[in-house]
Amino acid sequence: MFDNLTDRFEEIFSRIRGKGRLSEAEVDAVLREIRAALIEADVNVGVVRSFIERVRENTIGEELFRSLSPAQHVIKVVNAELTNALGGENLKISYASRPPTVVLMAGLQGVGKTTAAAKLALWFRHQGRNPLLVAADLQRPAAVEQLRILGEQASVPVFSVPGDPVNTSSAGVEEARRIGRDVVIVDTAGRTSIDQELMDEVRKISQSITPNYTFLVIDAMIGQDAVNSARVFNDALALDGIILTKLDGDARGGAALSVRQVVGKPISFVSIGEKLADFDLFYPDRMANRILGMGDVLSLIEQAERTLDKEIAEKGAKKLKGGKFDLEDFLEQMQQVKKMGPLKGVLSMLPGVPKEIRNADIDERELVKVEAIISSMTKAERNNPDMIDGSRRSRIANGAGTSTAAVGTMLKQFKDMQKMMRSMGMGGPSPTKKSPNRSNNKKKKRR
């Protein structure tokens, strides 16, 4: 969702990168552009203002002029602030010790609450729970029927009684208890935050069912109003998190950033398509990584330009894309990468590297061993590892000063690696450019 923002930043930074000195006017110009990019991405104007102020405070000053590469300094500060704005852990549901765990869904009209309720129910089912859906939107024509149909699709029962939404909600929770469902999700009517009467109503629902989790459903396309509405709903209901919907479009999703900043509540789930399974937990740190990583990819490029042999790197990339990456290439690339410094440092500059890997203990000596094994192979063996039989294996082990078992493990894991590379979508567009969240399934007709 932040792809556009990422691209804009990349463009802005590219203009100052490589500059030895930055005048205050140049910093100002960059900040103005960052401001425009953020506003265009629907980040709230107030949030942008304080964001820019913080960046300015942290950039302008002695440090900037002392720093070797002022542009890098600016980029670093911007990224740190962004990560800060987005950061945080993903939601870990703790279930009520006395079931059912009660979940309340609220939000403006037309944001996708009903669909999100059904998706959440399916998600709970996949966690091994037995949810009940409660249709307490008695306002919109056919909303109950809509939830009933969606519930059927998700194999989750739906409860509703006509009349008053407050009664319906508490009756729904009661029903869940009675029939032994361990999660109950209450869908409520959409309401504008300035409709006093309807805000009172949802407050009453909340008081009557005392939810364990209250989620505000927000449309990813929402503009400046996001923070106002979120604030009012938070005051009324004490939100636990946000469910961001319609992320499969091309909205820039700046609301996610503002709402977290202003209301202090994280995005808990994201909805990324019309199918019920298009829904999952949101990982703020991963998203922040992606934005943060962008800035560092630039420095990685700089470093790569200095140290890498362009031809070899390009050859490797081509092979990766073509799915023909063999041990020979692996050895070559490994030697290249070694030139760029410690693996850990390089990894930290990469976008989208999962925390588990970034923080893993890496023993650089292991790399040396791998190198030795591959170096002991013949060219033919490197091109076609399948030909390596028992006798070849012991020859290689001898040459590398290791055991045949170690050679076998290495070969097997290289195979896994190849598989992984394929599943990581090498051969498609570069991973930072193409949002993995966006499925553009032209072939599959949805109806």
């Binding site: 403006l108 300035i194 503009g223 509405s229 890496i362 992984m420 090498m426």
Partner: protein, 374 residues
């Protein structure tokens, strides 16, 4: 020049080799957390969940009377007036005033480009007239804003020969079906015989929702089974309208993100059907939600490109959002905002008038100015 792709390719090798090292350490199969937060798309299991109870809410709303339409207007005016709010109070430098005007425009979702050009235009005109107080600034900004509107009729048009066809399009959840209900009431108040075409055959219970609106507004409805071809529903509605002497067919469509090319193609096809004899397509209305941010402009562009919109219905102006993006869309595409949705009731749809909008702004400004002088 080493490209990003190359670096990323190297990166992949790096990541992969790291996984290799990590997995060697832990002696377990490498587990690579998915790069995205997307779970594998699982097919949805066959339904077996029992519906415990089901309720259909009663329809208590009466038919609208002509003239009721006007009643929402006060509320809309209020929403418009909030655009400038209280920016003109107090003792402020002209820079502060300009900053506040800028922020007010940005907060209304007008967008940074348009805001900048409105402010630049206003400043340029101020340099000539030379007044730098709040009133002067407000007037200059107002006249800039006024020039953004197109000079075009904003009423919905009927063709000479019946049946007239209106097609209603937009992204998910913006208020298409509700607006159609309100339009149906408007047309009925105008003594037109209306058929609603349930062209949303995709979303669960969409046709039921439209049917309730048909009942509320004493219109007929043509609907089909879930998953049916929307074009054939619209086709049937037009045939029926022609055969039975109805004046107007209003076609509902499924909400769709403008990024989904197959669905936009489907809409093109729908438009061709709606144009065909004996129907006379006079309006393709894009429904824009006032809470929408900058993406609204992209929506307007894409829907205009695909099906050629003739007007915008701006919904949910009764909320706290200001809907500036519809103005940006009108300014860029020259497609007029024709109607404004100000609530969920059948009467909550009113005609849009730029002058009223600006008058509302001006009234507010003058009032502020007066109370300052007290």
């Amino acid at each position: 020049m080493i490209t990003v792709t190359v670096v990323l390719a190297v990166a992949v090798v790096l990541i992969v080799s790291t996984i290799y090292l990590v997995s060697r350490k832990s002696r377990s199969k490498p587990s690579f957390p998915s790069k995205t937060s997307v779970v594998a798309r699982r097919p949805i299991e066959a339904p077996n969940g029992a519906v415990i109870s089901e309720a259909i809410e009663p329809i208590s709303e009466n038919l609208v009377l002509p003239g009721d339409i006007k009643r929402g207007i006060g509320r809309a005016r209020l929403a418009f007036a909030r655009l400038f709010g209280s920016i003109l109070g107090g003792d402020k430098s002209s820079q502060q005033l300009w900053d506040e005007v800028e922020e007010a425009l940005l907060v209304s979702d007008l967008g940074i480009d348009l805001t900048t050009s409105v402010l630049d235009g206003a400043k340029a005109s101020m340099a000539v007239s030379d007044s730098t107080d709040g009133v002067g600034i407000a007037a200059a900004v107002k006249s800039q804003l006024r020039s953004l509107f197109v000079e075009q009729p904003r009423d919905l048009s009927y063709s000479q020969d019946s049946p007239t066809v209106w097609l209603v399009v937009g992204v998910n959840g913006v208020g298409k079906t509700t607006s159609i209900g309100k339009l149906s009431a408007m047309a009925a108040a105008d003594d037109r015989k209306v058929i609603l075409a349930a062209g949303d055959t995709f979303r669960a219970a969409a046709a039921d929702q439209l049917q309730m609106w048909a009942e509320r507004t004493a219109a007929d409805i043509v609907r089909s089974v879930p998953g049916a071809d929307p074009s054939s529903v619209v086709f049937d509605a037009i045939q029926k309208a022609a055969a039975r002497g109805f004046d107007l067919v209003i076609a509902d469509t499924a909400g769709r993100l403008h990024t989904k090319s197959n669905l936009m193609d489907e809409l093109r096809k729908l438009r061709r059907t709606a144009e065909r004899d004996p129907g006379h397509l006079t309006e393709v209305l894009l429904v824009l939600d006032a809470t929408t941010g900058q993406n609204g402009l992209v929506q307007a562009r894409e829907f205009a490109k695909a099906v050629g919109i003739t007007g915008v219905v701006l919904t949910k102006l009764d909320g706290s959002a200001k809907g500036g993006i519809a103005l940006a869309a009108e300014a860029e595409l020259g497609v007029p905002i024709k109607l404004v949705g100000v609530g969920e009731k059948v009467r909550d749809l009113i005609a849009f008038s730029p002058d009223e909008f600006l008058d509302a702004l001006l009234e507010m400004d003058v009032q502020n100015e007066l109370s300052d002088e007290d």
